[in-house]
Symmetry: C2
Subunit: 207 residues, 2 copies
DNA sequence: CGGGACATGTAACGCGTTACATGATTAA
DNA sequence: TTAATCATGTAACGCGTTACATGTCCCG
């Protein structure tokens, strides 16, 4: 595999298509927002770019779906070459992650700012991470079962075809593992934020 | 503050300079590698770029230090405007982070690859995260006390000046909080990796 | 005598973000 | 009538990475 051929987002889209079946770029965007947003954000402009490149690589095929009184859809289907690329990717070791959390950076240099500003930032983070934890708990990353993806409207034959890549009835443990990670991560993050708030928060005399 | 004026890495460098005193770009790179690498990687080319831009913004001043039989150094010092920018940054809310961990992406679509490949990836991640945890535990992010940064060699007067921004004897809790986060994160990550390995690892009959 | 540390840069390239653009339908 | 949903795109911009470039000193 040459350098610059594919990136995590490429495989993210390819994985969505392989896992849930043929979709339009618009659908991929919605899947990203509902399943991968907390892990890997993606603007629709980026998704359309990647789909075009994957078509040039022969990893997906595109079929134009014309509809009356609705904009046309371009439905993408993973090819055998695309599946091969996914398997190859799975076999390669993943680099260790970097956190790249701006809050941690702000807090590392917290002594160069006002303590109340740091405390305010921590309180904001608590709210956002509690929201995320609630989401994770409510729907376990919103991951529908393999091949079960179906979008509203009369999407024609293509949307109703069963996913040709679905592997029968055997259950898939991986989405549950990822959801579990998300929950454990948010719980740990929140524990730490509360600890930090106690340390940082200015003590008031009348308390 | 206009869009595109400064980014996390800008404030990371500015914070290093404000916290540990005047440094060259080469020194900044070393500080990054020893304190922030796990959180925010930075190539030296990027650091030199940022230092140039910060000079144009008036956030730092540059003094050329000529030395015999050694390459010249460009020593950067934070200005009052730079400190003001840092304080302003501290007062602004931080966006919620995205994980962007390729291993999680690979595992989400683990069912599209070979189970043994996934297991191998998990084992590799365990080794790397154990290393990182050991590092964190050994030196708590390698963060020297405020103003205590000193590099080898006879670096001239500049390197020996006490940090003008150091705020006396009061201890700084923030680096310890960040180090604590790093340790808790790695512990949680490792717990999860071991759980995942048990689920994923193919059972052998003779075991 | 080769390799590491010291020290600073340029060039190429693309992911990822933000903004701009179009235009129909449907529901409040 | 205002706004959201459906649906796809282009353009600008820069962070971040990788590779290329130069030259001295010091250690084994």
């Amino acid at each position: 595999m040459e350098r610059g051929e594919a990136y995590p987002i490429t495989y993210g889209i390819l994985g969505l298509l392989a896992y849930w079946g043929p979709m339009s770029g618009y659908d991929v965007k919605h899947m990203f927002d509902h399943t991968l947003a907390a892990m890997w954000g993606a603007a629709h402009s980026q998704i359309y770019k990647e789909l075009r490149r994957m078509k040039e690589l022969g990893w997906v095929e595109m079929e134009r779906e014309e509809r009356e009184s609705r904009p046309d859809r371009k439905v993408y289907t993973v090819t055998e070459q695309g599946l091969e690329a996914l398997r190859k990717w799975q076999g390669q070791p993943a680099e260790i992650m970097q956190l790249r959390d701006e809050l941690l950076l702000k807090m590392l240099f917290g002594s160069l700012g006002e303590p109340e500003d740091v405390a305010q930032n921590i309180r904001g983070a608590i709210v956002r991470h509690e929201d995320r934890l609630r989401e994770y708990r409510a729907n376990a990353l919103n991951i529908p079962a393999r091949g079960a993806f179906q979008r509203g409207g009369n999407a024609g034959e293509i949307g109703k075809r069963p996913n040709p890549y679905a592997a029968g009835d055997e259950e898939d443990v991986y989405p549950a593992l990822i959801a579990h990670f998300g929950i454990e991560f948010e719980k740990m993050y929140l524990r730490w934020l509360h600890e930090a708030l106690v340390v940082v928060e200015p003590k008031r005399s009348g308390d």
